[in-house]
């Protein structure tokens, strides 16, 4: 298959970027989107030209590194897939494809298609954990966790931290990412003691990082490669209101409801 690519090239955060055109020739239909870029980059390297910089690692949809807007859609046309899981057979031969980095004020471009997503780590630092220093844990089966709670915690915990939700959101909100962590931990009995303190701290950090607010467009759940539902945002909002209304962020939770 052959494609014409219009790819965003930008030397660094300070300089302006532009779209450059490349031809991707003789690409097997079984190749993944990233393997198609590998082919283009291989030719560029042989010509002594700088290859297109893009974040990638596991190439099986779990590390959350890859992050491209393909024709304006975060992670491209396949639902529930990261960029690395999109195969060229999904496109038509001869198609013109535009490839850009995540677009968000909170994710400055580092180079070409690579953005700085460290704001997401800082949201976790603010409270996205259960304080359980190594060594003090009691037997794993001492606390029973109903299967449905454990399963819904896992649904939320499936987030890979890629930032597609932010890129897809017209407001640039990180609510799906943050809500997913709050729901994962808040569904479990182990997560109750810090539940309200956690939501306050994480939401405050989102604001600090210049993410926008959520107005329930729902674009995030459409773009999410793990298809995490916006239910997690509702849960975050509810916990946040409870935390603010009771003014007792340190109080213990009321069970994993």
């Amino acid at each position: 298959m052959n494609f014409t690519l219009k790819v965003w090239r930008q030397a660094n955060t300070q300089t302006a970027g532009r779209l450059e055109t490349y031809q991707a020739k003789d690409v097997p239909s079984d190749a993944s989107f990233l393997e198609m870029i590998d082919i283009v980059n291989g030719h560029l390297e042989e010509e002594g030209k700088e290859p297109i910089a893009f974040a990638h690692d596991c190439r099986e949809g779990i590390c959350g590194s890859c992050s491209m807007m393909i024709d304006g859609v975060a992670h491209g046309p396949v639902k529930g897939a990261a960029t690395c899981q999109v195969h060229m057979r999904t496109f038509t031969d001869g198609q013109v494809i535009t490839v850009e980095p995540w677009r968000s004020a909170a994710f400055p471009v580092l180079k070409d298609l690579i953005t700085n997503r460290s704001a997401l780590d800082r949201i976790i630092q603010a409270g996205g954990y259960i304080s359980a220093p190594t060594g003090g844990a009691r037997d794993a089966n001492e606390i029973l966790v109903p299967k449905q709670d454990s399963d819904s915690a896992m649904d939320a915990a499936a987030c890979i931290g890629c930032g597609a939700c932010v890129a897809a959101c017209p407001n640039g909100s990180a609510s799906l990412f943050t809500g997913a962590k709050i729901s994962h931990l808040g569904r479990l009995p182990q997560g109750q003691p810090e539940r309200y303190k956690r939501v306050e701290a994480m939401v405050a950090q989102m604001d600090e990082e210049h993410f926008g607010h959520c107005t329930l467009y729902g674009e995030c759940q459409e773009a999410c490669p793990k298809m995490i539902s916006i239910d997690v945002i509702t849960r975050m909002n509810r916990d946040f209101i409870v935390a603010k209304a009771t003014k007792m962020p340190e109080m213990a939770g009321h069970g994993a409801d």
Binding site: C63, A137, N141
Partner: protein, 637 residues
């Protein structure tokens, strides 16, 4: 150099306890005065960094990813073993110990493996306390599944994303400490060298991948938790950036490299589709719980698998290994699949594949039950191959997955360089010549949460370390050498891409140092790798500048080390004149084609000492003594 394993004396069951009692402690108020550098933030690195920070040490953590959550541990699917015996099926610390020693084909240290089995139970407790959502029964208790090489159910799992959930647990513990200001995190920063002062590890040289700036960092102890080197084969299930550079640089500074030829070829991966392929995808071993491996009885049978009647199918694992069947260990299952394909009975376009069939299980349990267990894996398979595994059997073929070899470490996980500790897949310690499924996650977390934080404390308490300033001649020299290497690479300005060299290296390694090895093939490979190395340093094209974000340069720097490692692997495979675990020498096999060990001459660890660019490395030997288990020919029949 002498290899001192420092295994504590006394009965096996009490070694770790008595060793912990004999350790020197660092006063809690003094811990913050000591600086520990941790390189890597996968399961081993993140858990070690978090735990040492919780204990009070000043910790800096370096990762080449943009976030510690992206380390390759995240991709582990199937599960983590622990001797909890929650299923009441006869499991115990001793049984997990024995299964692991036997699974490793009697080429690992008894004392290390016993300790691993002991702390396995604490790992599960720790992870559950952190909020890891392991699979549960309706009554709220944790559930387990079986894995290869064991006849008990001791594997804990979180759907097909166990590695992800365990890593996120460790990552969150790490980020909590970062948020408190107790850990300094260096993301997008790659270690280029270890700094030695008076023969002791005192820091690292690292490159900021955003700007290309090279800086030195001084510490009282250095920890490498930088993963395995499977990408030496170019195609493997490892992530694209997984590399050997950290441990290879340490090797060249004097840290002996043990058993480099012990690599694991995983039996259940999606077969390669074509030349463009950049990596291979694993299908979790847990699938073998319900999937049956088979190939057509007749050569060149190209019928649709559903049209091949039972009587014309060869369920080769069940036939050859009736007592373990489809749950035979990885090395054995891989070799069996290769044999079938070598006989011309392989399936798929390339003939390099066998079926993994869920037809019977779906009939027995229903599609829903199978989807509940493996839904995400089936989806992943369909996405890649465009075939529906609910309707037709999966096609699988072995692929490089894990490396048992790595930096040699003593019982305290310290390398032959004092002050340099190596954890997780990066060390050689626990899996012998073959690793059992669901044991890598166990080892990474055992090392990071429960072993290294104590043994490093013991080291710090006893080491008398003079202050080292950033303009110490050794620091300056290491920094200058690293800078020069980067400049050399960008100035070669040759004609070939780094990937083209990497692909060639991978082909040499897979053909000669893969599932079957021979004296002749290995000797040829060593010559071919030498020629490849010469051409690389003359003809590689690394566009762009060293003072910039430059992925071509990052790759070239790593592949240069892979080429050298490849040579050492072949050398190690050549010198080990026996077959054991994943190391299969065609000259040494039983009449029915199983691995033929030579315990009289090779019941030892081979660790390689670097002797400079021009001299051959020396092969050092650490004899393995077995007091609690009887060496036997491994049988899964």
């Amino acid at each position: 150099m002498e290899l001192k394993s420092k295994i504590p004396s006394g009965p096996l069951e009490q070694k770790w306890d008595s060793h912990r009692f004999n350790m020197k402690l660092v006063n809690p108020a003094n811990k913050r005065k000591y600086h520990v550098i941790v390189v890597g933030a996968g399961l081993a690195g993140a858990s070690a960094a978090a735990t040492m920070s919780e204990l009070g040490y000043k910790v800096s953590c370096f990762v080449y990813h943009d976030s510690p959550r992206r380390a390759h541990s995240i991709a582990a699917q199937g599960g983590i073993n622990a001797a909890k015996n929650y299923q009441n099926d006869g499991d115990s610390v001793k049984r997990l110990f024995y299964d692991t020693i036997k699974g490793g084909d009697f080429r690992s240290r008894e004392a290390n493996v016993y300790r691993l089995a002991q702390v396995s139970v604490n790992i599960i407790d720790q992870c559950v306390a952190q909020g890891v959502p392991f699979a549960r029964e309706y009554g709220g208790l944790l559930t387990n599944r079986s894995f290869g090489g064991a006849q008990v159910s001791r594997t804990f799992y979180a759907r097909g994303q166990t590695g992800q959930q365990l890593l996120l647990g460790a990552y969150q513990a790490l980020e909590k400490q970062v948020g408190k200001g107790a850990i300094t995190m260096h993301t997008l920063t790659e270690m280029l060298d270890v700094i030695l002062v008076d023969g002791v590890a005192r820091g690292i040289v690292a490159r900021d991948l955003r700007t290309g700036k090279i800086t030195s960092h001084i510490a009282d102890a250095v920890v490498l938790a930088t993963g395995g080197y499977g990408n030496v084969f170019f195609l493997s299930t490892n992530a694209m950036q997984s590399n050997v550079t950290a441990t290879w640089r340490a090797y060249k500074k004097g840290a002996a490299f043990a058993n480099p030829c012990f690599t694991q070829i995983h039996p259940t991966c999606i077969p390669q589709a074509g030349e463009h392929q950049s990596k291979l995808t694993l299908m979790s071993e847990s699938l073998r719980n319900d999937g049956r491996c088979w190939a057509p009885l007749r050569k060149g049978d190209t019928r649709n698998p559903r049209d091949i009647p039972e009587s014309e199918r060869d369920y080769f694992l069940e036939r050859k290994y009736p007592s373990f069947g489809n749950l035979a260990p990885r090395d054995i299952a891989s070799r069996a699949a290769k044999e079938v394909c070598d006989e011309g009975r392989g399936v798929g376009e390339t003939g390099l594949g066998v079926y993994l069939d869920f037809g019977d299980s779906i009939k027995r349990l229903g599609e829903n039950a199978i989807s509940e267990r493996y839904g995400n894996l089936f989806e992943m398979y369909e996405r890649i191959t465009d075939e529906d595994p609910y309707k037709q059997p999966m096609r699988i073929y072995p692929a490089v997955h894990y490396t048992m070899g790595g930096t040699w470490v003593d019982y305290n996980l310290m390398s032959t360089i004092p002050g340099l500790h190596v954890l997780g897949e990066a060390n050689f310690s626990d899996h012998g010549a073959n690793r059992l499924g669901a044991s890598a996650l166990m080892q990474g977390l055992a090392d990071g949460y429960f072993v290294a934080p104590l043994t490093i404390g013991d080291y710090i308490a006893q080491a008398k370390l003079p202050a080292v300033s950033s303009d110490h001649p050794e620091v300056r020299a290491a920094e200058a050498a690293a800078t020069q290497r980067m400049k050399t690479l960008v100035n070669i300005k040759g004609k070939r891409s780094t990937d083209s060299f990497h692909r060639d290296l991978g082909r040499i390694m897979w053909d000669n140092c893969g599932m079957a090895r021979s004296r002749e093939a290995l000797t040829t490979a060593i010559g071919d790798i030498g020629a490849l190395k010469e051409e690389f340093w003359r003809n590689v094209s690394v566009p762009g500048s060293d003072a910039d974000l430059n992925q071509a340069l990052e790759k070239a720097n790593r592949v240069a080390d892979f080429i050298e490692l490849g040579e050492l692997m072949c050398r190690d495979a050549l010198e080990r004149e026996e077959s054991c675990g994943g190391h299969f020498r065609t000259e040494y096999q039983t009449p029915d084609g199983e691995a033929l060990r030579n315990d009289d001459q090779y019941a030892h660890v081979a660790a390689w000492q670097y002797n400079g660019e021009t001299a051959a490395p020396s092969r050092l030997v650490e004899p393995l003594t077995f007091e609690s288990v009887q060496l036997s020919q491994r049988s899964y029949k």
